[in-house]
Symmetry: C2
């Protein structure tokens, strides 16, 4: 039984581009790590019956990438991601994980788990896979258009999560734009800079530029969901391209090949550090429950890491601590309340 | 005399973060490549008197990064970048190059060289330093906020430049956004997709995502100047970070160190390919003259490459050919004319 475990995670059993075998293997890996997993999907195809720590909840409906997320979540009450979100809302699981449609997962989580008091727009936050210190980056896709006040909220949500879950002490927060000076960027970014510079209760490091993200100059980087989504995919793509080019270089001649062979163990660690699967996916911040959105292309390890990230969030009571940090003093509350409901 | 050479380039002699010595060395390298260089800057500090192919035009005023570009260009008629732009407008040089303030260079070029007929907004285009086939990416910073019609113009400007100067046959153009489907992204992006999909005379490849840029899936990628600027700096930063991490891996233990040594010649080529200095900077498209904006951090080689890029644009008559391609058939002209003047 999944619920014998300290933490139980609800996993969308249709959420995979790699097939049910890979998803099932991811669930097995997570269960082997001591996490209880309730998988919402097709029992027969998953073949997980009797696996210790895993429980399959038969679910025959799915939401695909091609569907309108909000409409599909509203219409398909029996869809795997909707039922998994409901499982968390009902308290049977502590967190939702899906590597399926990002839009559907966000919609199911937002409807099913509801927003924290004062939060206008939940934001999707990802740990950027750069060497060394990871950077929490948000919004990476929940809101393609934002107002200044939303960016301010993202800053507080990111800082609270970074402190509560990632154990960064007094995290610094940067605002992503096109120049260091406070007047640089779109109108809403310039206004957000002004608000954040004046806000107590947050360590605002000012503007950061694209190059500061891989350089990990701050702990949290805030932007709108359009720029964030493009940037995260660009960063992952560039890391992959450069890593592949290093591999090509190592195959370019016999001497280089020997060099590549000797260097391989050291490079494997780097490759692992840079691989999107390693961080386990993005977390939807600002809700009354935990929801993790994994990569659709996740392998078994990526799925297991997404479940592991969700379990870790539950173990440290990420939601409660984020809410407490937001409410602490007037700062967070003020910032969250200022804009009213969207 | 600089004007003995086949092509003469006007170089902003104050445009460098690395000091006059580096700038002068860049000018020497360019002159050694057969390019005539007219340097607008402080004669004594540059120390270029008597160098074959170089002419120094004594200029004592400069525009710094901290100044408001448009106001400074309007006020400082004797500033080096303004005089260099004037030199091109007067026909004494064939192209403008500055590695100084991007904003000031764009303003000096736009005022001094004027826009091509029908072009509403000049755009800054950069060749993305990715392994293998380079991608032309625009706008990387001229317009932080755009309308759909501007994105359509950027697509035509980029395709024309790619064909005329980069010699790409029938270049494919992608629109950068958060998903492959036509409905994905900000309002102006969705509208631009609709316009481009219906536009004759351009090979529109549809939406591309962040990961498609380093993967070089298309020849030209179009976006607004905010997303483009963040993305380009992010890409350059990530390539640098990953390259540095490979170096660290090669120093992590003695066996890896030997591997790194054997691999070094092959990796040096890659490092060179990825270095921002290699492409020589960004080109301001849509003007009646050639203007190249180099990196402020450019070394001597970067400055020489920026001058070389400008000279190449002049040699192939980039402006004339771009204008002709834009006017060819109804397509380009239609797309450019549709929005009227901004």
């Amino acid at each position: 039984m999944a619920r014998d475990r300290a933490v139980t995670v609800a996993l969308d059993g249709y959420g995979t581009e790699q097939g049910f075998g890979v998803l099932a293997q991811g669930a097995r890996l997570a269960a082997a790590d001591g996490i209880g997993v309730r998988v919402f999907g097709p029992r027969r195809a998953l073949g997980l019956d009797g696996v210790d720590g895993i429980e399959v909840v038969e679910t025959a409906e799915r939401i695909g990438n091609e569907e309108d997320p909000v409409a599909a979540v509203r219409a398909k009450k029996e869809a795997s991601v909707v039922r998994a979100a409901g499982d968390v809302a009902a308290g049977s699981s502590a967190a939702l994980v899906s590597c399926g449609s990002t839009g559907a997962t966000m919609a199911a989580a937002t409807f099913g788990l509801r927003r924290l008091k004062g939060v206008q727009r939940p934001a999707l936050a990802a740990q950027v896979p750069v060497p060394g210190k990871p950077v929490l980056f948000l919004d990476v896709g929940a809101n393609v258009e934002v107002r200044a006040q939303h960016l301010v909220q993202f800053a507080f949500l990111g800082a609270a999560f970074s402190a509560a879950v990632l154990e960064v002490e007094d995290p610094s927060v940067g605002l992503l734009t096109v120049g260091e000076e406070s007047g640089k960027g779109r109108e809403e970014v310039v206004e957000a800079h002004r608000l954040l510079a004046a806000a107590p209760g947050i360590r605002f490091a000012g503007n950061v530029e694209g190059r500061d993200l891989p350089a990990a100059r701050v702990d949290v980087v805030v932007t709108d969901g359009f720029t964030g989504n493009v940037s995260l995919k660009l960063l992952e793509g560039t890391a992959k391209t450069v890593a592949a080019a290093v591999g090509d270089a190592a195959r370019s001649n016999p001497v280089a090949a020997v060099g590549g062979l000797l260097l391989r163990p050291a490079l494997d660690g780097l490759r692992r550090e840079l691989h999107p699967d390693t961080t386990g996916g993005a977390i939807l911040l600002g809700l009354r429950g935990i929801a993790v959105v994994g990569h659709g292309s996740s392998g078994a390890e990526g799925i297991a890491n997404a479940v592991g990230l969700a379990a870790r969030c539950a173990e440290v009571d990420a939601v409660g601590r984020t809410a407490a940090l937001l409410a602490e003093g007037g700062a967070g509350r003020g910032a969250l309340a200022a804009g009213g409901d969207a």
